[in-house]
Symmetry: C2
Subunit: 256 residues, 2 copies
Amino acid sequence: MTRFALKLEYDGRGFVGWQRQSNGVSVQQVVEQAGAHLCGGAPPVTVAAGRTDAGVHAEGQVVQAEFPDGLTTRTVRDALNFHMRPHAVTVVAAGVISDESWSARFSAVAREYRYVILNRAARPALDAGFVWHVRRPLDAERMQLAAIALLGRHDFTSFRATACQARSPVRTLDRLDIGRRGDRIEIRVGARSFLHHQVRNIVGSLKLVGEEKWPVERIAAVLAARDRAAAGPTAPPDGLTLMSVAYPLDPFAGQQ
Amino acid sequence: MTRFALKLEYDGRGFVGWQRQSNGVSVQQVVEQAGAHLCGGAPPVTVAAGRTDAGVHAEGQVVQAEFPDGLTTRTVRDALNFHMRPHAVTVVAAGVISDESWSARFSAVAREYRYVILNRAARPALDAGFVWHVRRPLDAERMQLAAIALLGRHDFTSFRATACQARSPVRTLDRLDIGRRGDRIEIRVGARSFLHHQVRNIVGSLKLVGEEKWPVERIAAVLAARDRAAAGPTAPPDGLTLMSVAYPLDPFAGQQ
């Protein structure tokens, strides 16, 4: 068998998330069922870089799977795309992995998410399901100012889901950029890895700063509290997209 | 009665287009049925700046309608949005029109459309319905080079739908910019007004230049032929969005 890396794009609506679950269709199940057609009927085991929740989208999720030797990256990509129809999941690129120790999850050195808030009175018609619709005007500059306290290496217990299974609550945020374009506020977050709900919990708190319910300094105080109850509510999944995952060597180099 | 201008955003999928038709739900019908709630039951008559076709989207369609005196722009916007649910149409802004001669259609001095081609092997998962998926690699620079021949005032008979009812085939293209960002090719087209299918017919021909089926010079020859049969096929509606309509005075100035 040959190990492949797959770059996936998906619309998180209609999925229970990346991971297989008994209560609905997961992205993992769709990929593995399509993969079975390449593996003589037995579905391959896949591992993803980010276990996105229900309703969370991906432009650049990376997944590993093993397929019989001799298949080209193009065949793997096109065959999976054929068999995954009509689900809103697509393999954008495939790459052959020669390093046996490579893991889509553990070899990743950086992950980037984007969160979009639609900040206007009118509900979304074009972006429904892809934005958090916030009617009250938000001050994106205040949000950016507050966000600075979260950059770097910290104990993120306050922004971690109670169900989070990571051994350590310590993570290093490398990027947290907030900008407004018209009525869209885009938040870009980058780190080597994230805790469960970390991005959505950060956004839920920054929104309270943006609408001036919280002073700018409160974000630093919430972080220091190391208490989930100190932070704001979890922002909805709709606005969140896993944009990219980076590795020491690009698994898709030279692939279309 | 007071005349209002409405700025509309809509997802063209699921509509037979802007204009009322017997074979399905139109955007116009949804707006007028919602407007009836403000007019004591009788639906208002609406006129749109651009009569978008089935499957064509809008971020900034402008529509006129008359509502009883005394309603604020906020009430008109919020009430229409409430009653248009769950259709994927929303009033982004409303403005009061005091000039009795103002027409959403005839007072417009500029219209801008965007056409998006997704140019990659994998079918779209996130942008399905909002892009024209073209697998064969396109050379956007060739397309831009060819497009220059269309700028300015010309007889656009070659790029006009045979069903087009405009009296004159002469139009003035003020803008035709083509650029690539990753696997997306974005085409921006601006003019005071357009012929029926003009943008989609132009895109359908430029795509043939992009894939090198046609030489760059062929676009100028097609224009000179003044013959619909000389041009390429009509590009699908999915990739097309009416972005904005401009007037001598902004009807939404000062409105959110």
